[in-house]
């Protein structure tokens, strides 16, 4: 697969993944661009035996996003405070925004596992390959993330076409 083909196939999903981790369009754009440029500069680093090109690209994007977290630690803490305020004042919040806040409030490792599994359709093996850990750890992170979201989002349960906070 050429770099152009890889870009055509995966740039949208990489962008979505990074956006869901960082919640910033400009940052997601920068990281996606950096991810594909890294692949273009050294395509020989991709070892087909170790995983698909998709998991390879996502692992680059994930490392860049983690670096972004480290560089913007104060900003991430601020987001957590924002989240607790949003939960308290939940009336009038759009459900999409509430879900976004709830997912963002998850610990980073749980969040990336949840985003890859729920939104990008990765298997547990693929997630383990992207984040560089074993399947059991991924399963545990995913379970804890889902349990936390079930509690956090319980007030927003859908009843027919209505949500819990109308």
């Amino acid at each position: 697969m050429t770099a152009q083909q890889a870009f055509e196939s995966y740039h949208e999903s990489v962008f979505r993944f990074v956006y869901r981790l960082t919640r910033r369009v400009d940052t997601a754009e920068d990281i996606t661009q950096e991810c594909f440029l890294a692949f273009l500069r050294a395509p020989e680093r991709w070892d087909q035996a170790r995983g698909s090109i998709r998991t390879y690209l996502f692992s680059i994007a994930r490392n860049l996003a983690l670096k972004y977290y480290r560089d913007n630690q104060a900003g991430m803490q601020l987001d957590d405070d924002q989240f607790s305020r949003v939960i308290d004042l939940r009336s009038g919040q759009e459900l999409a925004s509430v879900v976004e806040q709830a997912v963002s409030a998850l610990p980073d490792l749980q969040k990336e596992a949840l985003v890859l599994f729920e939104y990008e359709g990765f298997t547990l093996e693929e997630i383990a390959s992207v984040v560089g850990t074993d399947i059991g750890t991924v399963k545990s992170r995913l379970h804890r993330a889902r349990e936390r979201l079930k509690r956090t989002l319980a007030p927003y349960r859908k009843v027919g076409n209505l949500h819990g906070t109308v």
Binding site: F15, T32, A96, E147, K150, P155, R157
Partner: protein, 131 residues
């Protein structure tokens, strides 16, 4: 407004709610940026390429640069010209005196002294003495 129910969501309900959050569309300029960068001639890429330099290394480089600039601005020390010239200096020649010095002087003894057979005394008068 109060929520209808605060019990935990089921898996199916959670999946439904999670789908509410949609990511924004990918910016169209993304691909252009990446591949335009790649197809730029090398001399244009030089002006936009950046490299990461650790702060201590950058500080050392700046310091070296400042030192080299300062050294260039400092006045150069005067050049030393080495010139060889022959000069005659009068030298006082000293006379060498040889003196025999006994390291161990033999002690004076009367060993081997023989008494004279006939004593002939001779009186020598001094010039000022009365006759």
């Amino acid at each position: 407004m109060e929520p209808f129910d605060n019990e935990e969501l089921s898996d199916r309900e959670l999946n439904g709610i999670l789908r509410e959050w949609q990511a924004p569309p990918t910016p169209t300029r993304l691909g252009k940026c990446i591949f335009a960068e790649r197809h730029k001639p090398w001399w244009r890429r030089i002006w936009t390429t950046s490299i990461r330099v650790p702060v201590p290394v950058a500080a050392c480089l700046v310091l070296l640069f400042l030192l080299s600039v300062r050294q260039r601005q400092a006045p150069a020390p005067p050049r030393v010209v080495v010139k060889t010239e022959r000069v005659e200096i009068p030298v006082v020649t000293e006379r060498v005196v040889t003196k025999l010095v006994y390291r161990e002087r033999p002690a004076a003894t009367f060993y081997g002294l023989q008494p004279v057979a006939e004593l002939r005394p001779r009186i020598i008068r001094s010039g000022n003495a009365p006759n």
